[in-house]
């Protein structure tokens, strides 16, 4: 059986698919009641057990935000500002750009205050997130094996630093199917300039492209080629689609290929997407209060470095957060919100406030809005990136002019909210300077196992046969669900 056949199995077969590849040909031929290739690969499916979460909004900030300046206060580090790291330690670690000679600890100028009933401390760059502190499960003990951005992004998105693996969004779409009749199951929205992971941030890898993220655009048609060609009215379009359907049905009668039936289905869905998407994207029915809550229409603050985006970036990100809620309302399974340029090797005290200023208000608004609408129980919101930043000042090229921080995979922060995640708590702890983890380390596969669990999957059983192996998101080196995260 090929992977595409496996993908097309019915629910029962799907859940029992382990070992199917070894069945002898004869028994395959004898097997009755096996789904025909026409079965919709995106039909909603049940998971291994009742899920706590149905939808996911992944907010991914490429470049690695500084945990020390946002989520993990280190007064001791501030005290030790300007001191050297012991040589014994320097020998053991690896940096991307830092010159080992003369490197010094760098404190953070940020003020941290406690928020909510839980009293979680957050940076003054995140005042709005403070208002949802009781919904957030902040993990201060994330760590990854990857040191450079792209491999790190692949690790966080796909569970492996190698190319060709599906993202979390693809796995969930593959596992759960699509609840929406007229929108894609997995959508990607983007703000700001470029992206360092490119299409690998929403690839379906070895899974069929059915499970890849669909990129929504900020200009032109919201989905590439969604609009009719110039001159075509909706009426003309319908005439055409009807004729295509009829002629395909005639062909189906003749050649009896179930694949034609699914082609007819795909064209019908395309037509429905054309009709449904403008309504989705139209924010005119949203109240002014809602638009203001998310900050739609606000101007970006001054951005001296210019890397995090231009004057429109804040509003674009706000709009994306609001669209994410609207998509989830309409059954979209997985939404990724992307923004690049958190790679603050220099100018961190100008550029991080820009990026945080973009993120803070709309993300807090999203969580509050979901909660207010009773959607947060089913919707998991995740803030993530590939790694964190060092407590050392970056003296790139031996420069005395230190204004940023280098990569730091050994400890960093991220958070989850909703979807059965226990809010109002902090998991894990780093040492006094935010370098290493002293309590409850969480590896990327552990995080993935926990997320899958909330979506109703045993991470070891959500598999796909590729190149002779049953691949899974959490890899082969073992992964543990983090029970503390769960409500």
């Amino acid at each position: 059986m090929s992977p595409s056949d496996i993908a097309n199995l019915t629910r029962r077969d799907f859940l029992a698919s382990t070992g199917m590849g070894t069945l002898a040909l004869a028994s395959l031929l004898a097997e009755k009641g096996y789904a025909l290739p026409s079965a919709d690969p995106l039909a909603p499916r049940a998971s291994h057990f009742t899920p706590r979460a149905k939808n996911c909004i992944l907010i991914y900030f490429e470049g690695a935000p500084s945990h020390i300046d946002l989520y993990d206060p280190k007064p001791k580090l501030n005290e030790m500002n300007g001191q050297k790291l012991p040589d014994e330690m320097l020998e053991k670690v690896r940096f991307a750009f830092i010159k080992k000679e003369g490197v010094r600890l760098m404190g953070s100028p940020r003020k941290f205050t406690k928020h909510g009933q839980c009293g979680t401390e957050l940076s003054d760059l995140l005042p709005h997130l403070g208002s949802i502190a009781d919904d957030i499960c902040l993990v201060r003990s994330m760590n990854t094996t990857q040191f450079n951005h792209h491999p790190g992004q692949l690790m966080m998105n796909c569970g492996s630093p190698l190319f060709g693996r599906p993202t979390l969004g693809s796995w969930l779409t593959y596992g759960l199917g699509n609840e929406s009749r007229d929108l894609p199951a997995y959508v990607v929205l983007h703000a700001g300039r470029g992206s360092s992971a490119g299409a690998s941030a929403w690839t379906s890898g070895f899974l069929p492209s059915t499970y890849a993220g669909v990129l929504f655009r900020n200009q032109g048609d919201p989905v590439l080629n969604l609009g009719n060609p110039p001159g075509f009215t909706d009426e003309m379009q319908h005439l055409g689609l009807d004729a295509i359907g009829d002629l395909n049905r005639l062909r189906h009668k003749h050649v009896a290929d179930p694949e034609i039936a699914s082609r007819i289905g795909a064209y019908e869905l395309a037509g429905r997407m054309q009709a449904a998407t403008p309504e989705l994207m139209d924010l005119s029915k949203e109240s002014q209060a809602t638009l203001d809550l998310y900050g739609v229409g606000r101007k970006s603050r001054e951005n001296p470095g210019g890397r995090g985006g231009g004057p429109e970036t804040y509003s674009t990100f706000s709009r994306n957060c609001l669209l994410a809620r609207r998509m989830v309302e309409r059954g979209v399974r997985f939404v990724t919100l992307l923004h690049a340029s958190w790679d603050h090797h220099s100018n961190i005290n100008q550029e991080l406030p820009f990026c945080a200023g973009m993120a803070d208000q709309p993300i807090a608004a999203l969580v509050r809005d979901l909660k207010q609408r009773g959607m947060l129980d089913d919707t998991m919101v995740i803030w993530a990136s590939e790694f964190g930043r060092t407590p050392l000042g970056e003296n790139r090229g031996g420069s005395a002019n230190v204004t940023g921080r280098d990569h730091h995979p050994f400890a960093f922060s991220m958070w989850l909210a909703g979807g059965g995640i226990k809010g109002g708590q902090v998991i894990g702890e780093t040492d006094e300077i935010g370098w290493g983890i002293v309590r409850d380390p969480v590896r990327v596969p552990d995080l993935h196992a926990t997320i899958l669990q909330q979506f109703g999957f045993e991470h070891e059983k959500l598999t796909y046969r590729f190149q002779g192996l049953d691949f899974r998101l959490t890899g082969f080196e073992g992964a543990k669900v983090v029970p503390k995260m769960l409500a």
């Binding site: 040909l25 951005h149 470029g194 490119g198 795909a266």
Partner: protein, 1047 residues
């Protein structure tokens, strides 16, 4: 320092464990080990039986868990993935003993059976302590496997079939190459195998497809293009018995055959036009390899040669240019130029990819997991993986010039013209030298004096460098830096002064004669002079006096690296000369106030280089002057200075010649003009074509190969030698040190059980949509079994017999009745063999991404059929390209009909792949792809309906229909339908299209502006409504399932 100590204590525990991503190793409690037995232990009597009973089932001939086998002396001594398991004489430190006692990392061994008794463990300990004496068994570490794929290929007998007339008919044994199977009867061996299997299941094959279907199928399979209507007609009307075979031959000879089958191969080669990873820089000349593949396939380069050249063409005796370009196969690996990467890490990743890709493509074996540990299912150990790694470990990445024939011809022509013009300019200068110049020169020589040249070179008498550079001066006072290349260095130069007065100094940075080097010692030939200072030492005074300098000038400075910086003396700036580092440069420094030089005074110059690594001056010379006025950063040859210093009657002939040249080129106005014209012309010399090919080049013995423990390139395990997996046939190296060519030839050794099977299976998959082994990339235990094992073996024996001719193999398959069957599904087949594993019919296949595009362009008449050359960029919305790294992806749309070339020529930017390709399941080119998915999504529908490229095709198809000289709409529709689908519409279909025609026409007539846009007409006009209607119909025809399906 108390804080440091505290910090250290705090951090080391966590940082150390995390930094290396290694689990903490708690010290073993060796007191729990049973004591070694006393008394003599004999291996054969006491130890081997224990191993056999307790270990062989996982660590023997069949399985080698963790890469370890204990049944053969040589293998046991080597140990497993993580190194040796017993150390003779040291039983307490031996991992074997730890494992038997349950103290090891992997728990107790054996894990499932009864553990060894303390007495038994004691015997093992005693045996190890006594030196682990193991009588030589002389056995090689051969492996046994009963898995079908590792068994030798045996040409099976062709089954006998009972024909419809009841007569027993034996399939032709196919032993004569010219023996083309007859078409009417199933005498073809392929059909014999397929039908024997069907007969067993009591299934009947399908009849031959009709001719329009056959020619469309063949054209799409062999060329990736649909047939033109006149080609369909010609074939349908060809009544000759060999009509089909002629068609096959014609298609195999088409240059488009190479494009179609190259695309299949490029999937395996993970071909792309950019580096991949974050920065994803373009590879503008990647196409040189792609074009090699097309040409090789078109010329039917035998598959063994085709493969060997790609793996090791550079190592073939007297390798040709094309054979070197072929090694571009393994240059398609990704390159990570992201800041802060460890290049060795990504070099190792590329080598790992070369191993896994080679294993997938030729051996149908999945070896990726062996990078970190031995294979869990197949008989490949981690050690064996790195033994394969060793074959590729000394292959370095190089670029060689690879101009296309056109580029080379254009260059040679331009060069000829340039040379002719240069000769004309030279002769103008020469004739002036003989005619106009002599009287002026004579006059000048009378008055010329040393004042014309203000600089006196300073001959150093002491040279020193702080950090290990060695400095040497030659007769011309040129100082050359040699020896070590420290990151930073400070040079001091001491010299006497011949002048009585000083006004300034000159520093010449002299280009290295080696064209690849420059005046500086950094890799790119640049230097950064961070400080230039001069001290004056007067006899009798202990302290030197720093001379104050200002007005520094240079003939050239790099942006942000002005020569003034050298007077500031900051480590972060200085004087540098990129991008002109491959030229000599000069800087001058004026004294703030002129200095009268005391008797016997000496100068000490400090030239400091404190900027980053190795930006050191390589060759330079110092000079001083007493000239007044602003100093100019110019050169004057020393020979001229010397000549001028001599009295006119004492000048040698050489000196006179030097003066004449100097006068002509630097003093005389007319001479300067003519020389400048010549120099300017020289600068305009045409550049040799920049096109290069990325190749592999062997540097034997540069690197040793070690196992990377758990795949970590920094954690080196035991050293390994280049060799092949033991489960397969032995390597026969040409010399003591096996190389890539040995490996490549080993793949094609007659006893190789995999290469031929895997290769014919690829071809089969491309012609039936599914391999005889469905998992074309995995012939291992986890892969699928062949549906027709005997047919697979017959083909695998046939391919080498056909001289590995790809075209002959394809011809053999497509002339079988099995291939030619109709693809129409039948109820009984749907019931009994829904996935058509037994091939009682052909498969219907959605076209691949590139072929979808090509079919559109071809049917509409837009296709530009040009073969080869640089990749193209069809229209793409700007915001899509902008998703590349930091807006670095520049997508400049190809001009004219370049943009209408075939899909395989689309520039493949790995991080921003062309959306249409990805929507239709093209591989992402990051790793080898042996098999594409064929998905069916609404995005595909939207692309084909609305993408401007495809809509333009619909417009063109509409225009073709409008051109038909008739007033009959049905005739127009029939024309368009045949263009698109190679067959006339049925009555029902025609009726449905006519109905659409009427309805669309009404709408178009009511909407003149819209109709004009649809038809692509400049303005609304009455006939435009019909044109727009035909466009709408064309769009429907091109969106029918049948159009982008191969029936």
């Amino acid at each position: 320092m108390a804080t440091h100590a505290k910090l250290l204590a705090l951090l080391t525990a966590t940082a150390l464990s995390l930094a290396a991503a290694e689990p903490k190793k708690a010290p073993l409690d060796l007191s729990k080990l049973p004591p070694a037995a006393s008394g003599p232990v004999d291996f054969a009597r006491d130890i081997q039986p224990l191993f056999a009973a307790k270990c062989y089932s996982c660590h023997g001939a069949e399985k080698q868990k963790g890469g370890l086998r204990l049944d053969i002396k040589a293998a046991a001594l080597e140990g497993g993935d993580n190194g040796k398991v017993f150390l003779p004489g040291k039983s307490a430190e031996s991992r074997l003993v730890h494992a038997l006692a349950g103290l090891g990392e992997s728990g107790i061994m054996p894990p499932k059976e009864k553990p060894l008794t303390p007495a038994e463990i004691g015997k093992v300990r005693a045996w190890i302590d006594a030196g682990a004496n193991w009588p030589d068994d002389g056995k090689l570490a051969e492996k046994k496997s009963d898995h079908w794929a590792y068994q030798p290929v045996k040409r099976p007998a062709v089954p006998q079939l009972r024909g419809s007339d009841g007569a027993v008919r034996k399939g032709s044994n196919g032993n004569q190459r010219s023996n083309t199977p007859t078409l009417q009867h199933s005498a073809h061996p392929i059909d014999a195998f397929i039908r024997a299997r069907l007969a067993k299941e009591k299934l009947t094959p399908s009849p031959e497809a009709d001719r329009p279907t056959l020619i469309r199928r063949l054209s799409l399979d062999l060329l990736g293009l649909p047939p033109r209507p006149e080609e369909v007609r010609a074939f349908v009307n060809d009544k000759s018995p060999d009509a089909y075979e002629k068609l096959v031959d014609r298609l195999l000879a088409s240059p488009h055959f190479g494009e179609r089958w190259a695309r299949h191969w490029l999937d395996l080669a993970r071909y792309a036009d950019s580096d991949g990873y974050e920065k994803d820089r373009p590879r503008p000349f990647a196409y040189t390899y792609r074009d090699w593949v097309i040409a090789a396939i078109n010329s039917d380069l035998p598959f063994d040669q085709f493969s060997i050249q790609q793996l090791a063409g550079d190592l073939l005796p007297n390798a040709t240019h094309a054979q070197k370009v072929a090694t571009g196969f393994h240059r398609q690996t990704l390159t990570n130029t992201e800041g802060g990467t460890d290049q060795e890490e990504f070099r190792c990743k590329a080598v790992v990819d070369r191993v896994t890709t080679t294993a997938t493509v030729w051996l149908g074996s999945t070896m990726g997991c062996c990078e970190c540990h031995s294979h869990k299912y197949d008989p490949f150990t981690q050690r064996e993986f790195y033994s394969l790694f060793a074959f590729f470990n000394n292959a370095n990445e190089k670029a060689i010039p690879a101009p296309t024939a056109d580029e080379q011809a254009a260059y040679e022509k331009a060069k000829r013209i340039h040379e002719t013009e240069a000769k004309q300019l030279e002769s103008a200068l020469d004739s002036y030298t003989v005619t106009g110049l002599p009287p002026k020169l004579a006059a000048w020589l009378k008055t010329a004096s040393l004042d014309a040249v203000p600089w006196r070179a300073l001959t150093p008498d002491k040279l020193a460098a702080k950090n290990g550079t060695t400095l040497k001066a030659d007769k011309e006072a040129v100082i050359t830096a040699g020896g070590a290349v420290p990151a930073k260095d400070t040079y001091t130069v001491e010299a006497k002064i011949a002048l009585k007065r000083l006004t300034g100094f000159r520093l010449e940075a002299i280009d290295d004669p080696d064209p690849k080097k420059g005046a500086g010692r950094s890799k790119d030939g640049n230097f950064v002079l961070t400080r230039f200072a001069v001290k004056l030492f007067v006899p009798g005074q202990f302290e030197g006096k720093e001379l104050e300098l200002h007005n520094a000038k240079a003939d050239f400075t790099q942006k942000n690296f002005s020569v003034e910086n050298a007077l500031k003396g900051e480590d972060t700036s200085g004087w540098a000369v990129a991008p002109q580092q491959q030229k000599s440069h000069v800087a001058v420094f004026e004294l703030k106030s002129p200095l009268d030089v005391p008797e016997g005074a000496r100068l000490v110059f400090t030239l400091d280089h404190q900027y980053k690594e190795t930006y050191l001056l390589g060759q330079f010379r110092l000079a001083a002057t007493d000239a007044g006025g602003p100093l100019k950063p110019d050169f004057t040859p020393d020979a001229v200075a010397a000549a001028l210093a001599a009295k006119p009657d004492q000048r040698t002939a050489k000196q006179t010649e030097a003066l004449a040249k100097f006068f002509r080129e630097q003093v005389d106005e007319q001479g300067k003009k003519l020389k400048a014209a010549l120099d300017d012309h020289a600068k305009k010399a045409p550049a040799a074509p920049a096109t290069t090919a990325a190749v592999l080049a062997e540097e034997p013995g540069v690197r040793k190969t070690f196992i990377h423990v758990r795949g970590n390139f920094l954690d080196k395990g035991t050293e390994v030698r280049a060799t092949v997996p033991a489960v397969l046939h032995p390597l026969k190296p040409r010399a003591a040190q096996p190389d890539r060519l040995d490996l490549a030839q080993w793949l094609f050794a007659p006893e190789n059980p995999l290469t031929a099977r895997v290769s014919v299976n690829h071809v089969w998959k491309n012609l039936f949509g599914r391999g005889l082994v469905a998992t074309v990339e995995d012939f291992g235990k986890q892969g699928e079994k062949p549906t027709h094992p005997e047919l697979l073996d017959w083909l695998a024996s046939e391919f080498p017999r056909l001289g590995w001719s790809r075209k002959a193999l394809i011809k053999s398959i497509v002339t079988s009745a099995t291939y030619k069957q109709a693809s129409v599904n039948r109820p009984e087949l749907q019931e009994r063999d829904p996935n058509n594993l037994l091939l009682a019919r052909q498969n219907r296949l959605r076209l691949e991404a590139e072929t979808v595009r090509d079919a559109y362009l071809a049917a509409s008449g837009l296709l530009n059929p040009k073969v080869g050359g640089p990749s193209i960029r069809p229209p793409l919305p700007a915001d899509i390209a902008a998703l590349g790294y930091a807006n670095s992806v520049k997508w400049t749309e190809s001009k004219g009909d370049e943009k209408n070339r075939r899909g395989l020529y689309i520039f493949f930017q790995r991080t921003v792949p062309y959306p249409m390709l990805m929507t239709f399941d093209a591989p992402d080119s990051n790793s080898t792809c042996a098999r594409r998915e064929r998905s069916n999504t609404p995005l595909q529908a939207l692309t084909l309906l609305n993408d401007p490229v495809f809509f333009e095709c619909a417009q063109q198809l509409g225009a073709r229909m409008a051109e038909v000289p008739t007033a009959d709409a049905a005739a127009r529709i029939r024309h368009g339908f045949e263009r698109a689908l190679a067959r006339p519409p049925s009555a029902e279909e025609l009726a449905r299209l006519l109905k659409l025609y009427e309805a669309q026409l009404k709408l178009a007539q009511a909407n003149a502006d819209g109709a004009a846009k649809i038809a692509g007409a400049a303005k609304a006009a009455s006939e435009v409504a019909e044109k727009a209607t035909l466009v709408a119909l064309g769009r429907v025809m091109l969106n029918l399932d049948e159009f982008f399906t191969r029936d």
